[in-house]
């Protein structure tokens, strides 16, 4: 197992380089430049800009510089925000996104797993239908609808909670976390239910039942482990994207998170910022999926590497 983990960690570096290289190529291929805007700029000024940012150098020089920056973990200065370094943007934005994303995912797990488990244990009961209907609502109401609805009710009608903006650990967190977690909650509830149903029908659970173990004991001691495999598979990528890709929620609640930066960086063709965020995302994907793969072996000893 240790060898497995070490091998995977070693693979991370070349993988990140592959990802940033492909991304760099995509940025090259995309039309437009960071400096183009509604008002055209004269060719001479464009030339000045290209010189200033080294865009007039041969492609391999620019590529080499980008790879060098990535290896050093210093992505240079943003093109769109010339007085701000990519590292400082990440240092500001990642904690915001991580706070909201982690809280939202925790909430999703806390609500999703129990309600999925209850639904599975009492399959086709009222509790099952009720919790699955709520889960389906969570999936059918997109977050760009849910967020404004929550704001309308809690901020604009009752004036209980602030409608938007980042304010550290405060009441401002409640609405974005709720909005963000809804869909994950629903996914987790449904995946838990189906995973558990699968396990509950297997012979060893039937045997355990025959031995007179209570539902609770069966669930906690046997079923939950194997039944949570789908949730586990889902959680690796989900945790990455709840942090890096919460654009809609960040925009609705005007939060300075990674997702909003990333969308704007892509739209602005802000190469260093795109590379920086992509490298961060790649590391997160690789690490989280590694954690999930290790967790497979713990949850289900039949899984071997």
């Amino acid at each position: 197992m240790l060898r497995f983990i070490v091998r995977r960690l070693l693979v991370t570096v070349p993988m990140v380089l592959v990802v940033v290289s492909l991304t760099w190529g995509l940025i090259r291929l995309a039309p437009g430049n960071f400096y183009t805007g509604e008002k055209a700029i004269p060719p001479a000024i464009e030339q000045n800009l290209r010189q200033k940012y080294g865009l007039d150098r041969p492609w391999y020089v620019q590529y080499g510089r980008m790879i060098g920056n990535t290896l050093h973990g210093d992505f240079g200065s943003s093109l769109k925000y010339p007085s701000t370094s990519v590292n400082s943007i990440l240092a500001n934005a990642v904690p915001v996104s991580a706070t909201i994303g982690t809280l939202a995912y925790l909430l999703a797990l806390l609500v999703g797993i129990p309600s999925g488990a209850i639904a599975a244990l009492r399959q086709n009961s009222t509790a099952d239908y009720a919790s699955m209907t709520v889960a389906m609502l969570g999936i059918s109401i997109p977050n760009f609808v849910l967020g404004p609805l929550l704001v309308l009710v809690f901020s604009l009608t009752w004036f209980w909670l602030p409608p938007a903006r980042w304010n550290g650990f405060s009441l401002n967190l409640i609405l974005p976390v709720l909005t963000l977690s809804a869909i994950y909650m629903a996914y987790i509830a449904r995946l838990t239910r189906s995973g558990l149903l699968e396990v509950l029908r297997s012979n060893y659970i039937r045997t355990a039942r025959a031995k007179g173990l209570s539902d609770r004991e069966i669930l906690v001691r046997h079923a939950l482990r194997g039944g949570l495999l789908p949730v586990l598979s889902f959680s690796g990528p989900a945790l990455v994207f709840i942090i890096t890709d919460a654009v809609v929620v960040e925009r609705i609640f005007a939060l300075p998170g990674v997702g909003n930066y990333f969308i704007n960086a892509c739209l602005n063709r802000d190469e260093p910022l795109i590379i920086g965020i992509v490298a961060f995302t790649a590391i997160a994907v690789l690490l989280f999926n590694l954690v999930v793969d290790v967790a497979y072996a713990f949850v289900d000893p039949r899984v071997r590497y």
């Binding site: 437009g32 183009t36 500001n92 609805l149 901020s155 009608t157 409608p163 005007a254 300075p256 739209l267």
Partner: protein
Amino acid sequence: MTTRHRRATPFAAIVRHAAACGALALSLSACTTSLSHSEYFGKVDPPPGQTLRYVSGSEPESLDPQITTGQPEARILLALFDGLTEYDPKTGEPIPALATHWEANEDNSVFVFHLRPARWSNGRPLTAEDFVYTIRRGLSPELAARAAYLAYYIQYAQGYNEGGVFARDSRSGAFVMDPANPALRLVLPGDPAARDKALAAPALAAARGKTFVPVRAEDVGVDALDAATVRIRLTQPVPFLVALVANQFFRPVPREAIERWGDQWTRPGHMVTSGAFVLRDWRPYDRIVVTRSPTYWDAATVKLDSITFFPVEDATTIMNLYKAGDVDAFLNRTVPAAWVDRLRGFKDYRDGPEAGNEYYQINTTRPPMNDVRVRKALNAAIDKGALAGYLHMATAETSFVPAGIFPGYPVVPGDPFDPAKARALLAAAGYRNAAGAYDPSTFPVGKVELSYNTLELHRHVAEFVQAQWKQNLGITIPLKNMEWKTFLDSRARLDYNGIARSGWIADYLDPFTFLNVFATPTGDNGTGWWDPAYVALLNRANRQSDPAARDALLAEAEATLLAAQPVIPLFTTNTNWMKKPYVKGMYDNPLSMYAWKFAFIEHDPSRW
């Protein structure tokens, strides 16, 4: 709201009732809480003291006045930096700021500005040398300022910015003069290949074989006559220079901070300012806080202790923050079109005319749009009045220069809405059946598309215009929405079929900023139409010292433009913003630029 629809149907009434009193309670109408006054939108609780919270739009690219080009940045910079002139808070016209008065020569090609005693926020006196430094810095190729072209009217500014060279006779030391303007030295491209190509022109024969010396910063036509006098020498008459120098590009920047901190000089703690406020805090995508500057020359006028600028982009979020009373005012062009009708009823809604237009530009190089009759037909088939009515926050426009913004400038009417004439024009252009009548099926709709960048407003306009052409001409022009930079790329390369959306916001308060768009074949023009006669008219206009004669010539140029119809003027946007009743000293003006020193919070409700 029930008063409006008294004879409502049962079903509609149920829907509305459910909406009004269910969880989705109507935020805009009946269910207002005790906290809000019914005549204003949302909470009306003034913040304590003299602090203003303003939503400034997208995150500023930088707080360096010479690097930035956008309006959101410009508005923040207005608090930090003073110019020779400032925008009048009510009209946007230039008013004295760091310059107390100024004079121009006969043909408006040399301006002398007289400075008042003023100090930077670090206490150092602000002198004419600061202006010289600022303009040279803004033009230096190393800074690569995107707005540098605004200063190209200054002598040798363009040559310096482009890395050009003078031609000098190595024996006599005399410079070769410009055949087109004998008062000025000839400037040639710095790049040898481009220079040789330019020198091939017979008019420049005199410059061949000379020594080429680079244009230096010191050659730029800005100098300090003494510590309190700045002289600006121009390459041509520029009657609007006094308005132009209010632009952030010309506002003086602090040499000592820039030399010490490099591009980090705009950080809180590093920045030295010349304006009414100093930078206290800047957290990207979160907030920018400025506080009152004790060294400001006009500190007695400044009433606000601090302003917090919130960079928020999403219009609904901005409206929510405003309604909940978390912000006191927000930027222009923000209230969603559908809300305008309701919000008009509130006293805090504002929609004055704006010095900006929206228009469709036409690729005149590709058939069928290379035929002026087709362009005129498409223009005449749009009911712009109905379009403006649908948008709720626009003023219909048949002219290119927005009407009613520039005092004294006549309105140049374009072709009016006339579907019958439009069909006749298309028939005349060859789209007719055997009987000679207009036949929509002969029009090559496959060769034309209407492209626009993704934005709700642009989509609404495009859908409306498409429907108009369908109703009035019987043709369905396909729409194509594009991601912003992809769209700009295709528009700039004239690589679009038919029609592309465009808009122009005034750089300074003069009609020339609009007409100048078509003065060059490339750049902002983007239509493929270019007429030397049009440019000649503009040049003649600018040489007039009498404003009325100048306006008449500019109007003649605009008429030439509209006759060729490379563009379809659509509408002028309205300012379309809100401020709480207790915010005073902020007015609608055509540029939506607010000199913050005049703004204040009025705590006494009787004076709202």
